[in-house]
C-alpha cells in the first residue's frame, strides 16, 4: 500500500511540474477568444458539462464555492470541453441553472488535453506561480448528504491562508469528457 501511495505522490509531483506558462486559450460562448492568464493569482479551473448528471449534481455546490471564494481573491474559470455540447447549449444551461459566472468553450479540448483532464466535474487549482497546487474532485460524494471529504475546499482554505495544501490530489469522478475526434 505504501508503494502505491508513493507512486501516486510521484505522479502528483510530476503534475506540479506542468506549469501554466501559457495562458489558457478558451472561446467565449459568443465565439470570441478568451485568454486566461494563470500566473499572479490563485485560479480554480472547473471542467464542467451541460448533460452529465454528475456535473449537474454539483451545479449548486459550484455556485456556493464561487460565492464563498471569489470574494477571498480566488479566480474561477469554468470550462466546457465536450465536443458534443455547443456554445448555445452552454449558454442555456448557465441560464437555466442561474450561474453568475461565465462558462467558456474549450474547442477541440485543447485545455483538457494540456492538463489531462478526464471527467466532469474535475478541478485544477493553480497557485500564483502558475503551478498546479490541487487537482481532482470537488468532494467525495455526488449526493451532498453523504459528503465526508472536501479536498477542494481544504485546498482553497489553505491557499487563502497562505498555507500548504493538505492534499494535492484526489480522484475526480464523473462523466468522461467527450473529446473531439482527431482527424487522421
Amino acid at each position: 500500500m505504501k508503494s502505491i501511495r508513493h507512486a501516486v505522490l510521484a505522479l502528483a509531483a510530476c503534475a506540479a511540474l506542468v506549469t501554466a506558462a501559457e495562458p489558457l486559450a478558451l472561446t467565449g460562448t459568443g465565439g470570441n477568444p478568451v485568454s486566461v492568464k494563470l500566473e499572479g493569482k490563485t485560479t480554480a479551473v472547473f471542467f464542467v458539462a451541460t448533460q452529465c448528471p454528475v456535473s449537474n449534481d454539483y451545479n449548486g455546490r459550484m455556485k456556493e464555492l464561487y460565492g464563498e471564494y471569489k470574494p477571498k481573491g480566488i479566480d474561477f474559470v469554468f470550462v466546457n470541453s465536450n465536443s458534443t455540447e455547443s456554445a448555445a447549449d452552454v449558454v442555456k444551461h448557465a441560464q437555466d441553472n442561474g450561474f453568475t459566472f461565465a462558462v467558456h468553450k474549450d474547442v477541440d479540448n485543447k485545455v483538457a488535453d494540456r492538463f489531462n483532464a478526464q471527467v466532469t466535474p474535475e478541478v485544477l487549482v493553480f497557485d500564483k506561480s502558475g503551478n498546479i497546487a490541487y487537482r481532482g474532485s470537488i468532494d467525495d460524494s455526488r449526493a451532498a448528504a453523504r459528503i465526508t471529504k472536501r479536498p477542494l475546499k481544504d485546498a482553497l482554505d489553505a491557499m487563502v491562508a497562505g498555507k500548504a495544501v493538505p492534499a494535492a490530489e484526489s480522484k475526480a469522478f464523473g462523466c468522461t469528457i467527450k473529446r473531439a475526434k482527431k482527424q487522421s
Partner: protein, 155 residues
C-alpha cells in the same frame, strides 16, 4: 391463464438484477470467488454513455465464452439514488450475475487499490487470470477485438 400470469411475474422477479455492494475491503474476495475462471471486471454507471454503449458487447462475449471458463463481473459506480435505474439497465441488457455496486469507504483508496494509474474515469475494465491475478487494465471504452484476444490468450 392465472398460472401463466404467475409464471410471467415470477420470471420477471428472477430477472431483477441483485446488485451486491462491494468495497475496497471486499473487492479481492469478489474476484477470488471466481477463481478458476478468467474474470473481466467492468466498472460502469448509468450516467456513462460509453459504458452503456459497450455493455451489450461485453455481455455477448460472456455468452460466447462462459462455457470455456470466462466470467463477466460488472460493478456499477452509481449512487443509491440511481440503484433502481442501474438494475433496470442490467435487466434490459441481460447482464449476467454477479452484478455489484460500488460502496467504497474511501473512493481514492478503492481506485488506487485496483490500479494507481486509473483516474477513476468510466468505463474502466480489469482482466484477471484463472488464479485471480490482475493481467491488464483498460481505461475508457475498450477495443473489443483487442480485449477478446487478451481474454482468449488466458482461456
Amino acid at each position: 391463464m392465472k398460472t401463466l400470469a404467475v409464471l410471467i411475474v415470477a420470471a420477471g422477479a428472477m430477472l431483477a438484477a441483485d446488485l451486491k455492494p462491494v468495497s475496497e475491503a471486499t473487492y479481492p474476495k469478489m474476484v477470488a470467488a471466481s477463481k478458476g475462471k478468467v474474470v473481466l471486471v467492468n466498472f460502469w454507471a448509468t450516467y456513462c454513455v460509453p459504458c452503456r454503449k459497450e455493455m451489450p458487447a461485453l455481455v455477448s462475449m460472456h455468452q460466447r465464452l462462459s462455457a470455456k471458463g470466462f466470467q463477466l463481473i460488472t460493478v456499477s459506480a452509481d449512487e443509491i439514488e440511481q440503484e433502481k435505474d442501474a438494475a433496470a439497465f442490467l435487466d434490459k441488457t441481460r447482464v449476467p450475475a454477479p452484478v455489484y455496486i460500488k460502496r467504497a469507504k474511501d473512493d481514492d483508496n478503492f481506485i488506487n487499490s485496483l490500479d494507481p494509474k486509473w483516474s477513476g474515469a468510466l468505463p474502466a475494465t480489469f482482466l484477471y487470470d484463472r488464479q485471480g491475478r490482475k493481467v491488464k487494465s483498460y481505461f475508457g471504452e475498450v477495443d473489443l477485438k483487442l480485449l477478446e484476444a487478451d481474454v482468449l490468450k488466458l482461456i
